[in-house]
Amino acid sequence: MIELDETDRALLRALAQDATQSAGALGRKLGLSQPAAWRRVNRLRDAGAIARHRLDLDLAALGFGVTVFLGISLASKGRASLADFERAVSAIPEVQTVQHVLGLYDYRLRVVARDLPDFERVLRRRIMTLPGVGAVDANVLLSEERRPGPL
């Protein structure tokens, strides 16, 4: 586990809002010199506190008008079938994220599509034909809000 001080937390908060800021700009905000800010950001990255960077894209402007979350239960649950399912589902370009979960479903998928008919095509041709897929539950995303979290 990584120990953070107040300055690290402020840096992570700033980068989680806008990761394009330079070390100089971050330093000015937090009262650090440019090299000190740069060193801290590198330390946080090397320690793995920052998992990755995500692009903030206007999906509707790119022609993706629909985002759907799918809950999927597998019909059979041997270890081989989990691996087969995971490999096949990860290869579908419309599937943005796949989470293995415990509860009512086995997997949770985030799927983008141009519109509802396009989503139906993805569901029928790509999702329902996955190896081992059982029940599927779909919820269309209306709004989404990312919160800063407990930093």
Binding site: L12, D18, V101, G103, L104, D137, S143
Partner: protein, 152 residues
């Protein structure tokens, strides 16, 4: 703004490597650095490319438990959605609030340090949120795919 093949190529490369420099992106997308820079500027001013954010690895920071709470609201209350999301915003352990059309109304992405901590958040802060009709939990075991790819 209409995207051409070069824009799509650039966006694909950017999705694969969001942190790449303009020079690096230009090489990957097979264009000159000047063209790459001009196209990125155009995508930004058209509002398509809005920015880039760091995704925090909460597990590395000691938050071991991750739960999706799927909430059905009491829709006989006209302000159910607003009251619920306003109150949910005040719980710091909630990382995402999503609203849906379907069987589930709202999903909360909650993190906790461990199961004891989760139980405390659940009892003290989640169950007291207004207008909850039904609640079910999915415990995250692992992320299989998290790159948010797009079929561009």
């Amino acid at each position: 703004m209409r995207l051409d093949d070069a824009d799509r190529r650039l966006l694909r490369q950017l999705l694969a490597a969001p942190e790449a420099s303009t020079a690096d992106l230009a090489t990957r997308a097979n264009m000159t650095e000047a063209t790459c820079w001009r196209r990125l500027t155009r995508l930004r001013s058209a509002g398509i490319l809005r920015g880039r954010q760091a995704v925090i690895d909460w597990r590395k920071l000691g938050w071991q438990v991750e739960v999706s709470l799927r909430v059905t609201l009491d829709k006989t209350q006209p302000r159910a959605f607003d009251d619920f999301t306003d109150a949910a915003r005040r719980v710091p352990e909630i990382l995402e609030i999503q609203t849906f059309l379907g069987r589930v109304d709202v999903r909360l992405h909650v993190i906790a340090r461990d199961m004891i901590h989760y139980r405390q958040i659940y009892r003290d802060h989640i169950l007291s949120l207004p207008h909850i009709a039904d609640l079910e939990a999915l415990m995250h075991l692992s992320d299989i795919k998290s790159d948010e790819s797009l079929p561009i």
